[in-house]
Structure formats: C-alpha cells, structure tokens
C-alpha cells in the first residue's frame, strides 16, 4: 500500500514537474515601473506590470482577440449600453470578494480628472452595478472600440482604496504621495511582495488566482530590475544574472543571438513621414508663395524616391517590416492590400517632380527626433540622401524628443518623421487622431500636417459609431485607401523590437511590447 502511494507520488512528480518547483523570472529593461497605481501612467511597461496584479475586465489573447478575464460574458443591450456578467467567486489578494462595485469604482477612478488613463475610458458616460455580478456601462453614443479599451484597465478593490485613501489616481495638485503608487492589491495572477523604486520589484504567484487551472506559464516569482546602461544590461543577461531583457541594445544583438536567444517581432507602431499640406506657403523652403506639398505629385515623388529595402538592410540591420499601411498587421482593420507599398521608382519620381514644376529646384527642411524611435536619426539621414537623388535638396534638422514633440505640435515644420502606436488594436484610433481633419476632442489631434478630405472624414465618423463589424471594417479600409491614394502621409515601416532571453525561456512576442508573465514557461 505504502509502496504504491510512493509510486503514485513519484509518477505524479514525474508527470507534473512544475508543481511545487519555484521558478523565478528575473528580468530587466532600461527604466523602472513608474508607479504601481493602475490608472496613473499611460506607459507600456507600466501597464504591463500593473496588469500582473490588477486583472482587467477583458483581456487579449495571443492573437489580440478580446477574451474574458474578470468579465465572463458581455452583450450589447442597445447601441450605447453594454452589460457585463462578472466572474463569480473571485477574491482579491487580501481575501475580500470581488464584486460589481469594484468594477464601477475602477472605471470611475480612471475617469477622474487626475487620471492619465482617460483614453481607456473615452466614450464611457456611466457605469452602474445592477447586481453583485452584473455591470452596465453606458457610452455617449455607440462605441465599437469599448471592448478594446478595457484590456488595459486594471480593476481595483473599492474597499482597499477607501481604507488607504487612494480613491483617486495620483494628483500633482495635492502635493502628497498616493498610497497606491507604492502598494498594489488586485485579483491578478501575481501579488506584490516588495517594491524598492529603481532597485527591484518582486512579485509572488497568487495561489488562488481564478485563472490558475488554465494558466500556461510556470513562473512563481517575478523579480524586475531596471538596468539603465545598455552594456550592463547585456552583461547581466550574458552572465546569467537575469533571464530576460525587454530592450536589448541594437549593437549587442548579434552577440546575444549567438550566446543566448533573441526573439524578433514587430511593434505595433508605424513609422512615417507627414507633410505640411495646410499652410499656404511651405515654412522651410525655397519655394515662396505656394506650398508644393499640396501637390499630390510632389508627395508621390517623395514616397517613390524612398528605397525602403535599403533602409531596412543598412539602417535597420534587417529589423524593420516595410509597409504601405498606417497601421500594423495586428491592428483590427488591416488588410494585406493596404500593406503593399507603392513601388520604389526614382525615374518616376523625377518625372512627377518635373511635371509639377519642381525639377531639381525643390528645397525644404525635414524635422526628425533623435532619441524616440529606433534609429530615427539614421533613417532621416538615409532618406535625405535618397531625396537628393530625385533632385530635391533637403536640410535635416534632428533634435531630442523633449524639444521635437512641442515643435511639431506647434505646427512649426515642413516635413517630419513620426511613429504611431495603437493601444486599442483597432484602426479607428489611427484614423481619428492622424487622418481625420481637426475637430473636437481627439479628432485630428495628431494630424499636424493638416491632411483633410471630407469624404474620408465622413467615413471616419461613420466608423466611430458603426457596430456592424463587416460594414465597419469595409469603411476603415476605404478611408485608408483614399488617404493612401492621395499620399496623405508616407508610411515607412513597422519597428521590429527584439526581446533577448536565456535559452530556457519560452515567451510569446507581443507587438505592444508588454510581456505577459502568466504565459511564460521556464524550462
């Protein structure tokens, strides 16, 4: 009898080697998690880390489809009202029960004036608890993107926030520190163990997590350390002190590929050029009295004279995905057709410029950040040379991001390089901010160049409220198609963001650059 018990135990141990064995996942990237408050900083790493502790209502799976998390099902009662059924028997880390009140509280907290998470609750007008396991969210008009906003929004315990006076996100007016900035307590897969700002943050597995039975990964402890210096970060990985680096430096990639493991994937961020098509006279140019960028032939010439494969090969060292689209392939609404680039053709570009009256006589300035996107300055340098080949004389003006963004936002440019990511993974985000004419709120907020086409605007406004997905997708694609035909902007590529790790780490690359630890397997 006893022997058979031992045999069973041994077999079990053999079959389920994961059970009981501690697997610590030590990782690093350049900067620290900014705050543990889930509604306080709209920044990638910060959101990723807070989502280990705070579960959202809905989550993304590996294909970026929306799947249940704290909500198990949802339905649209009418075009501006959604009803969510919550997961029963979920407990917070302190043992208290999770209810609809917590959801309502969290949504309203994210809507507070001091919140920097407003873009994830945009369009929500109210949230109500119907019963302990039902929540209704009403939106100001139909909002087809709502479901894609919620996966970034962690749910906090109302009672805990009340007890610790953390009812609102960090408010700089109050001149005092928020309790929630250094403490965290949610329903998520990991619990905060210790937090030392800029030194290390340790999380332990939540043994009572609702998703544990189906959890894919085997990490039982997370230790996050920021390591600012590129060389030190690489050294720490090579010497085995850490398991994973989110942002390995480009110059070390070859070595890391040989000695450890590097996983490449595209970032959900498209790099592009935008032109000033609004001003009657181009600000930084030799052409006076008119704006050559308003001529679609000039814009096409700019596009056609860029040899994107050369940029990929020599500037990006292969680490880019050239694209003709303004959104990356993972974004809802993308099609392979829109990803296809207009071919590179210098002769055609020269002909177009000649036809438009700018043969060998067009000069302008290109503004470019030098510490924001991967190799941003080098891309601009390469493109300036390519444009010179087509007979344009372009002056390059590079600057750090802290001065670049205000300059561009003031409309003080002729042509500039920009990058745009889509946190909601839905094309409307790009259409509304970058392509629609300037309107109220977010409409056209980043359309600094001033591209405007009433037909495109009408399509975008229809996309905003259309709830039939097939129709909506068709309209998204039509709007992008018109914009691309008019060369409203010049897309270049999606950035490739490599992740470096030890050989025994199995992880899925995420285009939003947020590692999902509960899916990591340490062998």
């Amino acid at each position: 009898m006893r022997r058979s018990l031992i045999a069973v135990a041994l077999t079990a141990a053999f079959l389920f080697p994961v059970v009981g064995s501690a697997k610590t996942f030590k990782w690093a990237s350049q900067g620290d998690i900014l705050t543990l408050d889930p509604h306080s900083q709209n920044e990638g790493l910060n959101i990723a880390a807070n989502l280990w502790v705070y579960d959202p209502l809905l989550a993304y799976n590996e294909k970026f489809d929306v799947v249940p998390s704290l909500a198990v099902s949802w339905e649209q009662v009418n075009p501006s009202l959604w009803r969510f059924k919550l997961r029963p028997n979920v407990k917070f880390h302190d043992g208290s029960a999770f209810t609809a009140d917590d959801v309502v509280f969290s949504i309203k907290r994210a809507m507070a004036p001091s919140s920097q998470f407003k873009s994830y609750v945009a369009g929500i007008s109210d949230a109500k608890a119907i019963d302990p396991l039902t929540v209704e969210i009403s939106t100001a008009g139909p909002n087809p993107v709502l479901l894609r906003q919620l996966p970034s929004l962690g749910i906090m315990s109302k009672a805990w926030a009340e007890k610790n006076n953390a009812m609102l996100p960090q408010d700089f007016n109050k001149k005092e520190e928020s309790y929630a900035a250094r403490h965290a307590m949610g329903t998520g897969p990991y619990m905060l163990k210790t937090r030392e700002v800029d030194i290390k943050t340790i999380y332990a597995e939540n043994p009572n997590w609702w998703g544990k039975p189906t959890k894919k990964g085997n990490v039982t402890e997370i230790i996050y350390t920021p390591i600012k210096q590129n060389a030190t970060r690489t050294a720490a990985l090579l010497s085995g002190e850490i398991d994973f680096v989110l942002d390995p430096p480009a110059q070390d990639l070859d070595r890391l590929r040989k000695q450890v493991k590097v996983l490449d994937g595209n970032e959900n961020r498209t790099i592009y050029f935008a032109m000033d098509v609004k001003s009657p006279e181009l600000k930084y140019s030799n052409i006076k009295g008119k704006n050559p960028m308003q001529d679609v032939r000039v814009r096409e010439a700019l596009y056609r004279s860029i040899d994107i494969e050369a940029i990929k090969k020599s500037v990006m060292r292969g680490m880019s995905l050239p694209t003709g689209a303004m959104i990356s392939p993972q974004v809802h609404g993308y099609s392979d057709a829109m990803g296809k680039r207009v071919p590179y053709d210098v002769e055609k570009a020269k002909a177009l410029l000649k036809e438009a009256g700018y043969e060998n006589n067009l000069e302008f300035t290109l503004d470019c950040p030098n510490n924001r996107y991967i190799n941003d300055e080098a891309i601009c340098q390469a493109v300036v040379a390519m444009w010179a080949r087509a007979g344009m004389k372009v002056k390059l003006n590079t600057m750090p991001r802290a001065t670049f963004f205000p300059k561009i936002a003031n409309g003080d440019f002729s042509v500039y390089l920009f990058g745009w990511g889509v946190p909601t993974f839905d094309a409307y985000y790009t259409l509304e901010s970058l392509i629609r004419s300037k309107g109220t709120g977010a409409a056209g907020a980043f359309n600094y160049g001033g591209y405007s086409n009433p037909k495109v605007d009408a399509l975008i406004d229809a996309v905003k409220t259309e709830v039939d997905d097939a129709k909506r997708t068709a309209m998204i694609r039509e709007a992008f198609a018109i914009h691309a035909k008019e060369f409203g902007t010049i897309p270049l590529h999606d950035q490739v963001i490599p992740w470096a790790m030890k050989k025994n780490i199995e992880i899925t690359h995420q285009p939003n650059n947020r590692p999902v630890v509960e899916r990591i397997i340490i062998k």
Partner: protein, 329 residues
C-alpha cells in the same frame, strides 16, 4: 573668529543661491515634462490642464520663488516621474551613494598611500615606473570605460562578481545598508573599485611628490644624521608630514567623489542619488534635478567650510594674519 565664520556662512549661502538659480534657468531648456508624462497620445487639453496644475505656466521668476520658499522648508515638491516626495526619494538614495563614495575613498587611501610611499622611496625601480604608468591610465581612462571593462572581465568572462545593483540590503531606521550582507559586499566591490581608480592614482601621485619634497627637508637629514632607522624616518617623520595635504585634498575630493559617482552609478545600476538624477534628466523631472543639484552643492559647501574652519584651527598663521589686517586673507 565669529565674524570669520559668519562671513564664510554668508558666502556659502550665496553659492547655494547661485547654484539653485543657475540650475533652475538651465531646466527651462531640458524639455517638456508634460509631453513625456502624458505620452504622445495625450490630448492638447489634457496637456494644458496638467501644465496648469503643475505650475509650469507661471513665469520662471515665480516658479523660482515658489521653489526657493519651499526648499528652505526642506520641501522640494513631488517628483514628476514618481509622484513621490523628492526629499524622501533623496533620503532613500543617500545611503547607497555615501556607502559607495566612502568605500571608494577608503580604497583610494589604503591603496594609494602605500603605493605613493613606495614609488617615492624606490624612485627608479622598475615596479615604480610601472605603477606610475598605470596611474596615468587611472587618471586618463573615463570611468564608464573602466566600469564596463571590469564588468566584462569579472562578471561576463569569469563570473565572479555581479554586474549590477546593490544586492541585499538591511534597513537600520531609514538608512539602508549593504554592508551587513555578503551579497551587499559582493556587489560593492566592482563599483567601488571603479570609482576609486582615479582617486588611487591621484593619491599615489600626490603622496609621491609630497614625500619627495619632504625627504629633501633639513629635519630628515638631521634624523638621518642622528642614526634613526629608515623605518622611523620614512614612516614616523616623512609620511606624517606628507599626510596633512593629502588628507585635505582627500576631504575636498570626497565631494567630487559623491558628485562624480553619477557615472559609476549609471554603469552599475547602483541605486544612489546620481542614478536618480540621470533618470530625472531624461524625464525632465525638474524638482528632482533641482533638489539633487542643491544637495550636491550643499555637500561641497559644507566640506569646504569645514576644511576652512579646520585650517583656521590648525594653522596659527591664519589667526595672526586675521588680527593684523582686521580679517580676510
């Protein structure tokens, strides 16, 4: 005496104010923190609101005035990046920087002084020449290069020492120390050696030249004539007289070590004030930058003031001069 101290104190305050003002003016050009705080996806309305609530729309003079009145009360406001009290942040980081700096200063003395004595006594020895050549490297190689070389050798190739961080720390009240754990000592070695290398070279060269000077002095010749042992002459008389300027310089250097720990701290991810400052610069976190610069200038001012006062006590000539000319020197 009192007037001397008072005048020194007023000068110190003047220096501090100038540093604060310069720092503040410089920060106007670091960039826009609001843009970084809200990310590029923030709307213009949100940016304007945050700018207003942070007081960034006020004229520079008004901002400086607010900063000063608060700073006098020890309140440097909230870090824009972390939303925590800056004074608290600095207090948390102070122990790491001080432990590192003092370790480096001790290494500099313990290694530098004997080497200096040796090279002075064996002036033409092969080893002395080699040490002097080495000290040139110590003075001229940039700290971050030394740090990265050490990491490459001792962490990546040999795997003996950790490449980053401070290891396990123990809290004694608000002071966190890495000196009570094995891992803390382990982590201290590489950064302390890196930071001390320049100082080792400096101390060694200083001791050497002072020793050479002193060895030529008359009282050493008399000591020789009296038949004292070499040991007594070199260490009892010569070295003792050498050490006064060395200790003065080291005292003044300590401020420099603390300030220049920035580079070492960045290379080794040593969680001290320097690292905090570097991160603040990237984020245009004005309150942290301002507080750090004020603190560093305070350290410099205090050290200089102490040295001045000590000189006053030690050197009778200063007192006499003061009496004759009615003060000032």
């Amino acid at each position: 005496m009192f007037a001397f101290i008072l005048r020194r104190l007023i000068q110190a305050v003047g220096v501090m104010l100038t540093v604060a003002l310069l720092a503040f003016i410089l920060f106007q050009y670091v960039g826009d923190p609001v843009m970084i705080m809200l990310g590029q996806e923030g709307t213009p309305a949100e940016r304007e609101q945050l700018r207003q609530s942070l007081g960034l729309n006020d004229p520079v003079v008004v901002q400086f005035y607010h900063f000063l009145t608060n700073a006098i009360q020890g309140d440097f406001g909230l870090s824009l990046r972390q939303g925590q009290k800056v004074s608290l942040l600095l207090r948390e980081r102070l122990p790491a920087t001080l432990e590192l700096s003092i370790a480096a200063a001790l290494i500099a003395l313990v290694v530098g002084v004997p080497l200096g004595v040796y090279t002075a006594l064996k002036r033409h020895g092969k080893l002395s020449q080699a040490l002097l050549a080495f000290s040139l490297f110590g003075v001229s190689l940039p700290t971050f290069l030394i740090g990265i070389l050490l990491i490459l050798i001792f962490s990546v190739q040999l795997g003996w020492l950790p490449s980053y961080g401070r290891g396990d720390t123990v809290r004694l009240g608000w002071w966190s120390t890495g000196l009570l754990t094995a891992s803390g000592w382990h982590h201290l070695i590489l950064p302390a050696v890196t930071l001390s290398l320049f100082q080792v070279a400096l101390v060694m060269r200083l001791v050497r030249s002072e020793m050479l000077e002193v060895l030529r002095a008359d009282y050493i010749k008399f000591a020789r004539a009296r038949g004292l042992t070499k040991r007594a002459i070199h260490f009892g008389h010569a070295l003792k007289n050498t050490l006064v300027p060395v200790i003065t310089i080291m005292g003044l250097q300590l401020g420099g070590i603390i300030a220049f720990a920035i580079v070492t701290e960045t290379v080794f991810q040593w969680p001290g004030m320097g690292l905090l400052f570097i991160q603040a610069v990237q984020f245009a976190d004005i309150p942290v930058m301002a507080a750090y610069l004020c603190l560093i200038s305070l350290i410099f001012v205090v050290i200089n003031l102490t040295v001045d006062l000590l000189y006053f006590v030690v050197d009778p000539r200063l007192r006499v001069g003061l009496g004759k000319s009615g003060g000032g020197h």
